[in-house]
Symmetry: C2
DNA sequence: AATATAATTGACTATTGGTCAATATTGTGT
DNA sequence: ACACAATATTGACCAATAGTCAATTATATT
């Protein structure tokens, strides 16, 4: 194999190894030696591709979130979903469904991305919104036997993801009829969470 | 001094020391010994108050973001701001102003909280929204001689913060007239960023 | 096939994390 | 005020991990 392909292959195998270990044991409990061993390369090689563990972590998260958004937007375009409210519903559907299908990604997020922005006050709003969002989410997690430690924070993060997308669309200056959009949003979230 | 007060004082001084060092050198380049030294306590003491550096980091960020939200909501109530669009504008104003006043907090966020969710596609939306949001932000940072390394990511994060608050309000089921709200929002952001 | 260039390695050192027996401080009963 | 118990604090110590680099191996070039 030529050098260029080999480089790409090594980088990919390091990223994959890290993702596997981060998901299983958490970033904190994974050493660079662990990652190198899992990827089947020497430790020194790690430092040829990444500055340190944090650098790899950032690249990994950026890749995953970029893929999520890019795939969502691509799919949205191909399905010619144009109205703003439909777009938002689609993106939220997409994120939740993607995470439900991709349990390792959900676990990775749940285990490693607490963000620290988790806010009790905001969490309480989610609690008391009368939609039973949290209950549905936890019910679904139990039903599908998904073993994550902190479903509340995970739900919070899914909402963060969705909300940043919402806001981006506002920034994009597209027409937004929120009154029309809200019942669809609620319905979509409920449907998704209650299977 | 009695034990209870001493405990609170030690914990506070550890948090303050950590915040100072995290802001100056970044979390990565700050050791637990550094934090203990800065706080004027032995290293062992650190472990009486926090499980590890990540635990302290989480508490620190939770405190800061809770304070930001709590203060914003308190102020909003005391000023009897009730309409949804006015509430959103107020909260965004509050976050940006608070960070402009509290440069160390802005630096701390800028230096340490990249989130990894920074997304080129979404960033491009912010770039191309015709409001000159990014240019204004960078202009303001330069004008006030604020020395942060990655203003783009920082702006992105401010928008994340604001958007999660927006979304929480949607969850709270309050009336939202987005068409009425949008020009106010844009105007408010512009005004704030252009001084 | 010989040589140059680039990639890889893991033994090595330096740094940091985390523990714990010894010490100091504060609280309590007489 | 004193003795004693309970609690908090410490930093020397050991273990784990990060990060380096001279030696080695693989690939490219002529």
């Amino acid at each position: 194999m030529n050098m260029k392909n080999k480089k790409v292959e090594k980088e990919t195998s390091l990223l994959n190894a890290a993702f596997k270990l981060f998901t299983e044991k958490g970033i904190k409990n994974t050493s660079i030696q662990d990652i190198a061993d899992e990827a089947g390369v020497g430790k020194g090689t790690f430092y040829l591709y990444f500055k340190d563990k944090f650098d790899l972590q950032e690249q990994l998260i950026t890749n995953k979130s970029n893929k999520l958004f890019t795939d969502a937007l691509k799919e949205m375009e191909s399905k010619k979903i144009v109205g703003f409210s439909d777009q938002i519903i689609f993106i939220i559907n997409y994120i939740i469904d993607e995470l439900a299908k991709n349990i390792s990604l959900l676990k990775f997020i749940s285990k490693n991305l607490s963000f620290g922005l988790y806010n009790e006050k905001i969490n309480k709003l989610i609690d008391n919104n009368g939609l039973g969002l949290k209950e549905s989410f936890i019910k679904r997690i139990k039903a599908e036997k998904i073993d994550i430690e902190n479903p509340e924070v995970t739900l919070f993060m899914i909402i963060e993801l969705a909300s940043s997308t919402c806001f981006s669309c506002i920034m994009k200056n597209e027409p937004l009829a929120i009154e029309e959009f809200k019942p669809h949003l609620y319905k979509a979230i409920r449907k998704l969470l209650e299977k």
